[in-house]
């Protein structure tokens, strides 16, 4: 018995459900916004094509299928493989019309305002971690803090920054 194929409105729902998840995975692991956007398009295309062809046997476990495809495609992007380049070339024309590839980052001036609201030590930890890509041990050594303290300062500071950037107006 063939696996079920997919209708157009299901394709739109699929893209809506997974595009941000794939993008977040890409931003987290590839650490590059353009590469993350490529990952979104390529994973959506690969999985949609598999669904259209009836190659996904267990549609109830689609989350796992998308995750596995995402992880493998991210590895291909890191390696810059020929397979990945072929998929990238096909992706632009084969996704549903409703797919919105653009994803806005937060406003730059808002980021500045919200960073200003953090205390200096918390700001330094956030910037050292997410801009300079330094680990907690390294940051701790340079600031005379334990790695555990750096981690606590880091997640509290990021939570403050997130709340501020999401709408709490800086004074």
């Amino acid at each position: 018995m063939n696996a079920p194929t997919i209708e157009a409105d299901q394709e739109r729902s699929f893209c809506q459900r997974y595009s941000n998840r794939i993008r977040a995975y890409g931003l987290c692991h590839l650490r590059d916004t353009a590469a993350a956007e490529d990952l979104v398009q390529q994973v959506l295309l690969i999985v949609l094509q598999a669904l259209r062809d009836g190659r996904v046997k267990d549609v109830d476990n689609l989350d796992k299928y998308v995750f596995g495809t995402c992880r493998n495609t991210a590895m291909d992007i890191r390696r810059g493989s020929a397979r990945q380049r072929r998929i990238a070339a096909a992706a632009a024309t084969a996704l549903p019309d409703s797919y919105e590839p653009r994803w806005e980052l937060a406003d730059r001036s808002r980021l500045d305002q919200c960073l200003e609201r953090l205390e200096a030590r918390a700001r330094a930890v956030v910037l050292a971690t997410f801009v300079d890509e330094r680990g907690a041990d390294d940051v701790g050594r340079s600031m005379s803090l334990s790695a555990g303290n750096v981690r606590v300062i880091r997640h509290r500071a990021l939570a403050h920054l997130q709340r501020c950037m999401e709408g709490e107006r800086p004074s």
């Binding site: 980052l105 937060a106 980021l111 890509e133 907690a136 880091r154 990021l158 950037m165």
Partner: protein, 70 residues
């Protein structure tokens, strides 16, 4: 993994601090859990903006002067 992830765990994932097997289990959870997916998408926007915007300015030394050691 079925329970929702604590915020510090998500932050540790984004900081690249977790073992590969732990990160993979968390990533798989994030694809299947609507609440955690939403939380990480919000975090992605903040960290993504930090990396792009602060990274540009850090590259020319601006943040060193204006945001860190002032």
């Amino acid at each position: 993994m079925s329970a929702c992830l604590p915020y510090p765990t998500l932050v540790a994932l984004w900081a690249g601090e977790l073992e590969e097997s732990e990160a993979a289990a968390i990533d798989e959870h994030l694809f299947g859990c609507d609440a955690c997916a939403a939380a990480t998408e919000r975090l992605a926007k903040v960290v993504g903006t930090l990396r792009v915007e602060a990274g540009k300015r850090r590259a020319v030394g601006e943040y060193v002067v204006t945001h860190v050691w002032r």
